[in-house]
């Protein structure tokens, strides 16, 4: 074990190196570039024996990853923002073909206008593609989630690709202290990838990605739907094993003061660090607030979330992404849908914040909490934090 200071991107590169991918096909984009620069250094220095394929676009990157994974390779890659948007077509291919690719996504705003800063709209734009989405609060979680990502993706009951999402610049470029494991410890945890199907099976050759007509496409999609039911237990089980190895707990989400909370807040990513401080401060003043830090956005753990929120009078959902033409951001829609099945419904209010890297601070979060302590406070439309009117 080593206690090191690394940027989020470097922590991701180290984790990827220790998982020993056979192939990494990648194209640079801010704020991902430094991760693959670091990883390319590891390859050049002989620290990892990965076939690093530098392609001409993100669409090509994911296509090459799909080919490599179909061949039976362990595959990792990374992208952000418009890069993810460009490879969108192939993300659906990767999940439908049940390829356990692990991809770091350094959450960054989508164009236009061009913005290189933190925003979750990129991974949210791919939320229906059939990938698993794990979100990170800090560099430690980036490191831990990439390692667990391979175990989750390659689990024979899952065999689906994983997106490890972390805030662009806020986490990717900020140096933090974290604990890394020895190469052998990581390798003992992830192990060698044993593919179920591979293009190298010459005794019984397989065709990947054939055509379906009206008579079979629907049934193929249904098999993918079924596979998604297995993910949550695997994420939990992998988290428990990882916690035995490292002492750090990992599940679907973390709860803070939820047992007797009257108002709860839920968010993704680094904002949870800020919200954690606010929650503690308000609790010290006797306010009954609580926090849910969501790690697993896809699949959305709706039953557990609904159970967690069933006794609060208001749930404040913070969305660092915007979804047009509907009444809430992506996370708010999920939480509202989850609560729908409960007989007692809390108010689920939604705030859009932090788009294009707009910062959010403790005062702003505290103000939002204070406003909603009153159970009678109505908020019919989504609000905005930190927006100039």
């Amino acid at each position: 074990m080593a206690r090191v200071s690394l940027t989020g991107n470097d922590a991701a590169a180290v984790a990827l190196k220790q998982c020993r991918p056979d192939v990494a096909a990648v194209y640079p984009i801010t704020p991902q570039t430094e991760m693959m620069h670091k990883f390319a250094e590891f390859v050049a220095d002989g620290e990892v024996n990965t076939e690093l394929v530098t392609v001409e676009s993100e669409h090509s990157a994911m296509s090459a990853c799909v080919g490599a994974s179909a061949a039976g390779a362990r595959v990792g890659t990374a992208t952000a923002s418009c890069g993810l948007a460009l490879m969108w077509e192939i993300t659906y291919v990767a999940s439908a073909m049940r390829l356990p690719i692990v991809m770091a996504v350094m959450n960054r705003a989508l164009s236009a206008p061009i913005n290189i800063h933190c925003d979750h709209s990129d991974s949210m734009g791919a939320r229906d593609a059939g990938w698993i989405h794990l979100h990170c609060e800090n560099a430690q979680e980036i490191y831990d989630n990439i390692i667990q990502g391979f175990r989750i993706a390659e689990n024979p009951d899952v065999l689906l690709p994983v997106m490890v999402c972390f805030d662009g610049f806020v986490l990717s470029h900020t140096m933090e202290v974290l604990d890394t494991m020895e190469d052998k410890q990581v390798w003992d945890f992830v192990g060698e990838y044993k593919p179920k199907n591979t293009l190298f099976d010459f005794k019984r050759p397989k065709t990947y990605g054939p055509l379906d007509l009206q008579d079979y496409y629907f049934e193929h999609r249904r098999t993918q739907w079924e596979a998604h039911k297995h993910i949550i237990p695997v994420v939990e089980k992998t988290g428990k094993e990882y916690s035995k190895l490292t002492g750090r707990e990992y599940g679907l989400f973390e709860k803070l003061y939820m047992d007797d909370a009257e108002v709860a807040l839920i968010a993704l990513g680094s904002t949870n660090g800020t919200a954690h401080v606010v929650t503690e401060e308000l609790r010290a003043k006797g306010k009954k607030v609580g926090l849910v830090k969501l790690r697993c956005f896809r699949p959305f753990p709706e039953d557990l979330i609904a159970e967690t929120f069933k006794n609060v009078h208001t749930v404040i959902v913070l969305d660092r992404s915007i979804a047009f033409g509907t009444h809430g951001g992506p996370l708010a829609l999920e939480v509202r849908a989850a609560m729908y099945r409960k007989p007692k419904q809390p108010k689920v209010v939604n705030y859009i914040y932090g788009l294009g890297g707009r910062d959010i601070n403790t005062e702003q979060i505290a103000e939002v909490f204070e406003r909603h302590l009153d159970p009678k406070y109505e908020m019919p439309e989504a609000g905005f934090i930190g927006l100039r009117e």
Binding site: A96, M97, R98, L99, L159, K196, N197, R204, P205, K206, T207, Y208, G209, P210, D212, D215, Y216, F218, E219, H220, R222, T223, E226
Partner: protein, 102 residues
């Protein structure tokens, strides 16, 4: 007619895990025109065999022996490529051929 499979019977990831099973998919039913091969006019140049996109010109012991009508889609490339002086393949309306057979 083989019964279509339910979703539970499908191989994972939409792969086809039975190599060469395209043989069982009879695209011959798609034909509008059928190539008729006249053996006595054939000069065995093998141009039809080379250019057929569906491997549907049959050869045995280095001789053209006929056409695989289970898979021939009637594109007419074989008739097009057959040298004019040989003119060993003619395209006929599939519907007429079927009527004639009955």
């Amino acid at each position: 007619m083989k019964k279509d499979k339910g979703w539970k019977e499908l191989p994972m990831g939409g792969i086809i895990d039975e190599p060469g099973n395209a043989r069982e998919y009879h695209t011959g039913s798609w034909r509008t025109y059928r190539p008729i091969w006249f053996a006595e006019r054939c000069i065995q140049c093998f141009q039809c065999w080379v250019y057929c996109p569906d491997n549907s010109i049959l050869a045995k012991d280095e001789k053209i022996i006929g056409i695989d009508y289970d898979h021939c889609k009637g594109c007419g490339i074989c008739a097009q490529e057959c040298p004019e002086k040989a003119h060993a393949i003619e395209m006929k309306l599939e519907a007429e051929c079927i009527l004639a057979e009955e």
